[in-house]
């Protein structure tokens, strides 16, 4: 017995070593087999909190790429949504009609709001299939039209550009007019050519009308904040608050309309016949 105790004492380091390693091995196997360790994993309170904090820091650092992923996902979802909407409202499964709009996500590289003629530069261009005339929307609503493209960049005419006109309609009554910026406040624009007999109400939503085929129908442009009718004037004076806040534009989506060329050429031919 004494010899045994002596033996254990002499080899106590090695025996402890063996014991600990066997314990570890058992833990590893146990953990691998059942996935059941209830407490000693990162789901326990202290560990989870610490890791949550660490993840928070990490997410902050990775915000850029996370944002990009989300923007891409948004573009993808908008594709799907538009397709579903066209399928539902037009009752058609004609693939070209259903897929007539394609959304491409792009990052805003430069954006101005303080000039009369404001432009936005984005990081997608010809290489991504962009062409002049395509519509651009943001997370809030319509943003503008592609003006010119290079290989990897494009310049967009912002809605905050006194030259830019977008066909918009009052969602409630379907009267349509032209949205045009007055060059003053980046949050407000005007809706022109709404006839006297229409009854715009403050709070009405203005959406893209779809008459120009650049924008899909129904993209929000803004909300009526003031509507006045001067005596003898043929149209209402309407001031709208833009749905898209141009002050914090980070990602936009460019809309490719596949039927635009067909529509334009048909209209041109018809007009030619009349003349």
């Amino acid at each position: 017995m004494e010899r045994l105790l002596n033996f254990i004492y002499e080899y106590r380091a090695f025996l402890t070593f063996l014991l600990l390693e066997i314990l570890c091995a058992w833990l590893i196997i146990e953990n691998n087999q059942y996935q059941s360790s209830k407490y000693f994993n990162s789901s326990n309170q202290v560990a989870a909190r610490l890791l949550g904090f660490s993840q928070g820091v990490r997410e902050y650092v990775a915000l850029r790429s996370i944002n990009e992923d989300l923007a891409n996902e948004n573009a993808h979802l908008r594709n799907e949504l538009q397709r579903a909407l066209i399928e539902l409202t037009e009752g058609t499964t004609d693939s070209l009609r259903v897929n007539q709009f394609e959304f491409v996500s792009a990052k805003v590289l430069a954006n101005a709001t303080q000039h009369y003629k404001n432009f936005i530069t984005i990081n997608k261009g010809m290489a991504d299939g962009l062409a002049p005339g395509m519509a651009v929307v943001g997370d809030g609503g319509a943003v503008g039209k592609v003006k010119s493209v290079s290989n990897h960049f494009a310049v967009v005419i912002s809605l905050l550009n006194v030259d830019e006109q977008v066909s918009g309609s009052i969602k409630r009554s379907n009267h349509f007019g032209t949205v045009r910026w007055d060059g003053v406040n980046m949050r407000y624009s005007t809706l022109q050519f709404i006839p006297r007999h229409a009854h715009p109400i403050v709070g009405d939503t203005i959406i893209t009308s779809g008459y120009n085929a650049v924008f899909p129908q129904g993209i929000p442009i803004g909300y009526i904040r003031e509507a006045t009718l001067k005596p003898e004037a043929p149209f209402w004076d309407i001031r709208i608050e833009l749905a898209q806040d141009f002050g914090r534009l980070a990602f936009v989506e460019v809309i490719k309309s596949k039927l635009l060329a067909e529509k334009d050429s048909l209209q041109l031919r018809t007009i030619g016949e009349i003349k």
């Binding site: 600990l20 570890c24 091995a25 590893i28 953990n31 000693f40 994993n41 610490l50 890791l51 660490s54």
Partner: protein, 171 residues
Amino acid sequence: MNRGGLIQVIYFILYILVQVLVLRNLVVFNASFCLLYIAFILLLPIETNTLVLMGVGFILGFTIDIFYDSLGLHALATVLVAYLRNFWLATITPQGGYDSGASATLAAQGLQWFVVYTLPLVFLHHLVLFFVEAAGTGMFWFTMLKIVASLLFTMTAIVLLQYLIPQRKRL
């Protein structure tokens, strides 16, 4: 508890926090991990008892495991290193032996000795860790790549830390 012991406890907590909060997120090319915590075991005073080393090693590895969701894995590798550490220290004793109370730091023993001391042990730690994690030699070359890449990363961190933190020759 004496002052030296208290400092070691603080170091222990610091190593775990740095490992879990910072280095866990720092994986280069999906292959190179920085497992700096092993330095805590290596840098304990030279005269530390093997039993104590293994006990501390087990607690250290176990704590790391909790955060890595790999119960037992880091503990296994760390206990192994803790067990072998004193044998290795005895093997590479410089001429005239260690001064009493000397610490196994770069400042006390010099760069060459420090690398000779830490490199094999860190390599062993990574070797055991990654092969047990891979549960065999199925992905031998990828595992080897991980081991070598992580070895470089961890060693760089350990040596840099020795230069960055002013070390006293005796603790």
